[in-house]
Structure formats: structure tokens, C-alpha cells
Symmetry: C2
Subunit: 499 residues, 2 copies
């Protein structure tokens, strides 16, 4: 997986290489964030598009996002749709290029790897794993339609496990629970449709028909990039390993110029603003609104922004093309973090205990923001209709109301209190799968049951049939006995009558 | 909890003390296995029975077990019944003594502990935790009726999660699945009844009515003494921590005399035989059968046995009142382990990769044995009807058929390949609960839902009502429209008729 997904997998690959493993990373020649490496081997293959084309399309996608409808369910449908556009344009195109590259596939087959690790957000790696019949480790934040939980045979009660894109918490009103069930019903249809072209690629390549669940059910270990400080507690499975915060590192000292800048507002401290690795430009009217808000706060602002400089930019606002986000958040003078609520940023905010103002744009970001907001550790704004006053008020709240700082500090303390660092945990489980050729002992027997068997519907039907039959026979026996008894009594009567 | 339960909690208490915590262990003056300590503080209270009485009753109980019916479901019912006898006799008696000891309770209240750890197999500690309103860590192998999973809001699909005492695996035939559902239905009745006197104690002490689920739902962390090398994979919850093998330690060298003895059969090696800490005597006819079997095997046998010496005891069989079980199993010449399949013994067998012949007696032992047998790492015998030949054949299989050794070695390798030792993991989570006053972030919102809400039955009923109403209104509209249309058409006809 390209984009931000690769950014969190990268440290794990580095660490595996450090541990002496031969890691081969298979990437397309043109990509957003993936590239060569000095530590691990990179195997590239040609694709029919350039890196510039992807970047341009992503920028177009993010610009389009600023003209989205701002309310559920329309925003959810639009978001799914726009994600599917990118999917179709690049992820499927790269996948077709990979799978049709016979020489590369043969090379991969000949190498006899111990394990394959992939982010199943794009199904390409999973299809390859099925073809190469290799023990598979999934590395992900989540999947549309909860295909990860469905394929892992993990129950997700609709009464307190909110579906993706609903922006609900685990405490739902009756109306929300109804909508949650309806969303699940919609998913049954929508997800089949949206994954149908992936399945077409899979069946063409594998020469057999498969379902998404079948492909994913071969997973030995699910490395899930969250924990229950962030996610709402829900049932899990023994082969799910939670590595939220895998991207957190201790903060490094800032450069001299950056250090001078973050200190320029004295005790007021500073605010970090980034919309993530994928969005560095926004429409000018929005940029002017934001710059307007920043002008009137006492903090210094460091804003990652590559677009045209807004004319109303305040002297306290510093535009940068790239920022050392984790190092800035780790600085004692960091007062707030304005983020698009991507999972990386959220975890850097948690690790460094910096309260957040969240401007979610797409994907899981709305749901991520809801999770932090419901813990009282941040404020969510709708970037599409927010005013400068909204942003000023939100910043004022998270910086000056003690509850936000206290809550993010509590979350941070809980998150960091773990027996083993998430990166080491991830390394352990990848190596476990390599050493033991998978983890079949963690595979639930539910995989061998069909839907009716899993829910014991056949058993209940059988028991009901037995019950009904028993009642029927008992009833028949009773009526027969009654008739016999009554008959015996009545016969003499009729006899006597005759007499 | 007294008996073998305490033996596995003891190392954790020791380790917590080592880490500098003040641990107070509250125990009755008379007990089976609990006693004073040099490391942690022990607080005793008087009970209306002596240690000798408990020991005598347990010995009686184990003797009685040898005259049990040997087949399911009778053995399950008998076992539950006999467990309840011990429960009523001692566990409830000690609990009443503890809870009525006003001075002790007040002292415990005044101490303001950070956390309370208890084995909920006896509910006494749980009742006390509710009264003292303390963050609670449960330490257990399991609970009758799966009260642990029910209270933890963890789904246990009846289609592949076998109920306790059924001796089924996770791969059940249709008939077994039917029985599994029936056992669950029986539990709904039986478990309420058997726990009613505990709830009476609880409501008398707490001055309010409570259910078992309510009492247990206050649990911050469940420390479960198994893992999925032993247990079948099934859904779990984020506050369940698996510490199977917590009792395993590296083997220490044997005493000179013991070392000489285990080497006396040369390359044939030796067999370890123990029926656990609770059963050291068995009826003489059974002891003679076992001695007869041992006479005819080439291995040396070390047998923990305190009863009368069987007259036919072979020269290769060594009776001991106590044996260093783990050290013996860790010896390279250990060829087989004859065990009652208690969870401690099973894990010592797994850790040291010694194949097992299992003679389960009561409690979870039948189910434990089934788990090892289904992995091909041991043979289960019914101690009630086995012959000397059965035992000879079983020993011959596990010692001489390579598959048993290979399977137990595979289980051992999987079990020992973990990022952190189970004891350190348990210590971490107890300290976590102490540091953070519980683990409320791991408490699923399901606790706030009733049964109907949890299963979304109200939502489905509502959606059904909407659907039926919509259909009904549509149908009415259609028929009305049809009638109007037909009416309009037919009226002119009747008019013309009149004309």
C-alpha cells in the first residue's frame, strides 16, 4: 500500500532488516511515498502511470473534498465513492501490472520466502499470498466494511460497535443503533459491488473464484494499528495483535531556527498544524479563513502548507513545506495540534499528550476524530463549513480548558503503560509467523462452519422440530386417550339407551 | 482460593512483593495449601473447621470419585454435584467467617489498597471487592457456566466453543453441537441454582440484591491461566490477559538420589506419575492395577503416592510422598508424564515437551485432557475403568510413537515463543490496575445494554414494524387506488345500463 499506509509499515520493515532478515519490498516504479532503501531490498515493476500523475490526482481529490456535502450519510457515500476512484485508478492498475509481470511473480515464487506482509486495504498482496501459498501477516488500520473482523471470524455486535464512517461512539441512542444496523445492511450490498473488480482480478490471476473473506481468511496474524486507548473496546480474536502507536518515537531536538521560532511566543507556546502527508494544499478561501484565525491567537503556529501564501497571513504563522511533526509535538511548549485526524497523527498526539483540534477530511479520519473527541481530548471541526471564529474557539478550548490537557495526558499515560513497545511486538509476531510457518493454532474453527452452522440455526431448527413433534405426538396421544376413555364411558350409556 | 488454585497465584504474589508492593494475603486459619510467608503479609481469620477436616474431606471426595459413573452426561452431573459439596462445606463457610469478621473488614477498608486480586472460582473475594469498591484483578483458570466470559461481555458462539464438562473439541459434529446448546440451556437453570447461596451471602453482606454477572462485571483485568496453544481459539475481550504457563520455571538439577534413580533405566528413561496436589491416595485395587502396568514397562517410574504400598509394586517403581515435578519433567530422560490433567501439570508438560498419559478425575481435568489429546500430544484414559493393559498401551504409544513427541515439542515451541514471560505479563497488568485505579478504558459499552438491546432485538423489531407498516399502507393505497379506478370505469357502465 502506497501513501500514508507505507509510512507506518516502513519502520517495521527497517527493524526486521536490522534483526538480520532478508526483506524484499515489492513496489511499483511510480508511487507517492515508497522508494528505494539502503537497508532492505526493493524490487520494482513498471506501471502505466507516473508519480506526478498520482500526486496530481491526489491533490485533485483533496481539493474536491472541500466541496463535499457536510452531513451523514451523504458525506459517507461521497467519501466511499472518491476512495473508489483512487482505488480504481491506481491501486487496481498497479495490481494488474504486478500480477501480469510473469517474470517477477516467478522470481517471488522461486525465492521461497518465510512470510508475506501486506496491507489488505489494497487486496493485491493478499491475492499474491494466496497464489504463492505463503503464511501471511496483515498490517492495517482497518478495512472498509470491517472485512478484517468478518474474515477473522470476530463478532462485532451492532449494538455497541459502530460501523466505519458512521461517526458514532460505542454508546449509541436507539436511533443511532437503528442507523448502525441499516449501514451494515447497506454494506452487505455496497461492499460486494465495490470489491467486485478486485475479485475479478483475483479470479483471473488465481484461475478460481474467491470471495474477499476467503482471501483474507488465510491471515496468520492481524497487526492492527490501534489499541483500546483510541478504539472502543469490543470483542477481538487471539490472532489480532494491537500495535497502535507503532510510529511514535521519542522526540529529537529541533533545529536551531525551528527552536527559536517555537519559543517566540514565550509561555503561550505554539500550535502545530498539518493535514497529513497527502494534503498540503487547500482552496484559497479556506486558507484565508484559517490564516485569519491564526492571526488572532497568542500562540505561534507552524503550518505545513505548500499552496499560495494567503495574503492575510499573520506574523505568528510560519508556513513550512515539511515539519518534524513528532519532534514538534514532543516539545514542552506544544500547546495544540491541528490535525486531519489520520491515525498516525492521532497517535503522535496521544504519545506526546498534546490536545487536538481535528479537521477530518476523508477515510477513517471522521471516525478517528470522534474517538478522541468522545474522550474529551480534542475538538472536531467540519473543515467544509467552519468559520475563523470556530477555529479560534476550538483552539482556545483545547489550550485553556484544563480538561482537554488532563484527558490527553490520561490517554497518553494509559497508552504508554505497556509491557512491550508496539514495534517490538509487531516484530515478534512477524518473526513468529516466519519461525512457525504461520500460526494455525490461532485459527478459529469457525472458518470451517457456514453461516447457518456458525449461528447454530440448524441446531435451533432441529430442537424446535423435536419440540413441535413431541408436543404434536403428546397432544395426539392425549386426545386419543381422552377419546378412548370418553368412548368407554359413553358406550355403556348408549348401550343403556338402546336397552 | 485454597488448594491448587493458590499454588499458581503464589508466585505472582511473591513477584509483586519483590517489586516493592505491600501485599496482604487474607487467608483462613485452616486451609489446604495456604500458609504464612516470609515475603508478604498474611492476615488470618478464624474458621469453624480444622485443616485436618478439609484434608480428610478432600481425600474422601477423591476416593468417591473412583466410584463415579464413567460417561457423559452422568459424570458431568456427578462432578458438578461433588464440587458443590466442597463449595458448600468449606468455601462458603470460610466466606461467611470472613465477611462476618467486622474488625478484619474494617481493617481492610482502612488500609485503602490500590487493588484487590482474587480467584472468582470462590465468589468471596469478588463480594469483598464490591463492598470495598476496589479495582479488581481476577486470576483464574475458568469458572463454571463460563460466568467469566458472560460477565466480561465476551461472545462464545455455541457452534465451535465447547461448554465446560462436555469434553468436546472446537470441531463438533451436529449431534455434539445439539448437546452443546442443550448444556448451555441446562446451565441457565443449574448455574442459577448452584450460585443462589453465594448470592444470598452477597446480598446479606452488601445489603442489596446482586447477580453473579453484576459482581464479576466490576473486573478491571481478567488474568486467565491458559493460552491458545492449549485452549481452542475463540473470541476474547481486550481486558482478558492470557498467562498460561505462569507456573513454568526452568528445571533445577535433581538431588543425587533422584538423579541416580532416573538414570537407572539407561536410555529407556523414566516416567513421572502424579495425580496432583489434592489426590495422593487411590483405592487399593486401582493402585494394584497401576503397579501391575508399571512392572512391565522398561522405564523407571516415579510415582507420587501416600497410600498403602501395593503388594505387586515392581522394582522399577519408586513411591514418593512429594516430587519435584517440574525439575523431573525438565530432565532430558523424562519420557512420559502420567497426570490427572490439572492445568498446572498440563502446562509443565507443555513447557518441558513431555508427552502425557492423562487420567482426569474432576473439575476441568476432562476438558484439559481433551485439549491435549486433540493436539495429538497425549492419550486420555478413564481411570475408573482402565485395565493394566490400557495403561501399558498408552505409555507405549506416547513413548514410542514419534508423533506424540513431535506434537508436544511443537506445542512447547509455540508456547515458549512469546514476547514476555506470563509471570511478567501478569505483574504488568496488576501494576497497571494499581497505577491507573482500574482499566475503565477496556470496559466494553455492552455492560450498559440489556439483553434485548445487546442483540439489537429492539432495532430488528422496529425495522420489522416499519417494513410491515410500509407494506400495509402500500397495499391499502394500492387496493384503494384500484377500487377507485375500477369504480370510475364501472360507473359509466352501470349508467349506460340504466340508460
Amino acid at each position: 500500500m502506497d501513501g500514508s499506509h507505507w509510512l507506518s509499515m516502513h519502520p517495521l520493515v527497517e527493524k526486521l532488516t536490522e534483526n538480520g532478515h532478508d526483506v524484499v519490498v515489492v513496489i511499483p516504479e511510480s508511487s507517492l511515498t515508497m522508494g528505494g532503501s539502503e537497508t532492505f531490498t526493493v524490487q520494482t515493476y513498471p506501471v502505466p502511470y507516473t508519480s506526478q500523475e498520482i500526486t496530481a490526482n491526489f491533490q485533485k481529490l483533496s481539493r474536491e473534498h472541500f466541496s463535499l456535502p457536510s452531513h451523514f450519510p451523504w458525506i459517507a457515500i461521497e467519501m466511499l465513492d472518491s476512495m473508489m476512484v483512487v482505488f480504481n485508478m491506481f491501486y487496481k492498475s498497479f495490481c494488474k501490472s504486478l500480477l501480469s509481470n510473469a517474470e517477477l511473480i516467478q522470481n517471488l515464487k522461486d525465492e521461497k520466502f518465510d512470510a508475506l506482509m501486506t496491507d489488505p486495504f489494497s487486496l493485491c498482496g493478499t491475492i499474491l499470498a494466496e497464489y504463492l501459498d505463503m503464511p501471511t501477516v496483515m498490517f492495517l488500520r482497518g478495512m472498509p466494511c470491517s472485512f478484517d473482523y468478518i474474515s477473522g471470524q470476530c463478532p462485532t455486535p451492532l449494538s455497541y460497535v459502530p460501523r466505519i464512517f458512521t461517526q458514532y461512539t460505542d454508546k449509541m441512542t436507539f436511533a443511532q443503533r437503528v442507523k448502525n444496523v441499516l449501514v451494515r445492511m447497506l454494506e452487505l450490498l455496497y461492499c460486494r459491488l465495490s470489491y467486485s473488480s478486485w475479485l475479478q482480478i483475483a479470479s483471473d490471476f488465481l484461475k478460481k473464484d474467491v470471495t474477499v473473506e476467503e482471501l483474507l481468511s488465510r491471515t496468520s496474524i492481524w497487526l492492527l494499528r490501534y489499541d483500546f486507548i483510541f478504539e472502543f473496546p469490543k470483542p477481538i480474536m487471539p490472532n489480532m495483535v494491537f500495535i497502535g502507536g507503532i510510529n511514535c518515537k521519542p522526540g529529537k531536538p529541533l533545529s536551531k531556527s525551528m527552536e527559536d521560532f517555537v519559543n517566540s511566543s514565550g509561555e503561550h507556546g505554539f500550535v502545530v498544524f498539518s493535514l497529513g502527508s497527502m494534503v498540503s494544499e487547500i482552496p484559497m478561501d479556506k486558507a484565508m479563513d484559517i490564516a485569519e484565525a491564526f492571526r488572532s491567537i497568542p500562540q505561534t503556529v507552524i503550518w505545513r502548507y505548500t499552496g499560495k501564501v494567503p495574503s492575510n497571513l499573520g506574523s505568528n504563522t510560519h508556513l513550512v513545506k515539511w515539519l518534524p511533526q513528532n519532534d514538534l509535538l514532543a516539545h514542552p511548549k506544544a500547546r495544540a495540534f491541528i490535525t486531519h485526524a489520520g491515525s498516525h497523527g492521532i497517535y503522535e498526539g496521544i504519545c506526546n499528550a498534546v490536545p487536538m483540534v481535528m479537521l477530518p477530511l476523508f477515510g477513517d479520519q471522521m471516525d478517528n476524530a470522534k474517538r478522541i473527541e468522545s474522550r474529551g481530548a480534542g475538538v472536531t471541526l467540519n473543515v467544509l463549513d467552519m468559520t475563523p471564529e470556530d477555529l479560534i474557539n476550538a483552539l482556545d478550548s483545547v489550550i485553556n480548558k484544563p480538561s482537554y490537557k488532563e484527558n490527553i495526558q490520561r490517554l497518553s499515560a494509559l497508552h504508554l503503560d505497556r509491557p512491550i513497545h508496539p514495534l517490538d511486538l509487531a516484530v515478534h509476531w512477524v518473526e513468529f509467523v516466519m519461525r512457525h510457518k504461520g500460526a494455525p493454532h490461532l485459527r478459529p474453527a469457525a472458518h470451517d462452519l457456514n453461516w447457518i452452522q456458525y449461528h447454530s440455526l440448524d441446531v435451533f431448527a432441529f430442537l424446535l422440530a423435536v419440540l413441535v413433534t413431541t408436543f404434536f405426538i403428546s397432544f395426539k396421544c392425549c386426545t386419543y386417550t381422552c377419546r378412548r376413555c370418553c368412548g368407554r364411558k359413553s358406550r355403556p350409556k348408549s348401550k343403556s339407551k338402546k336397552e
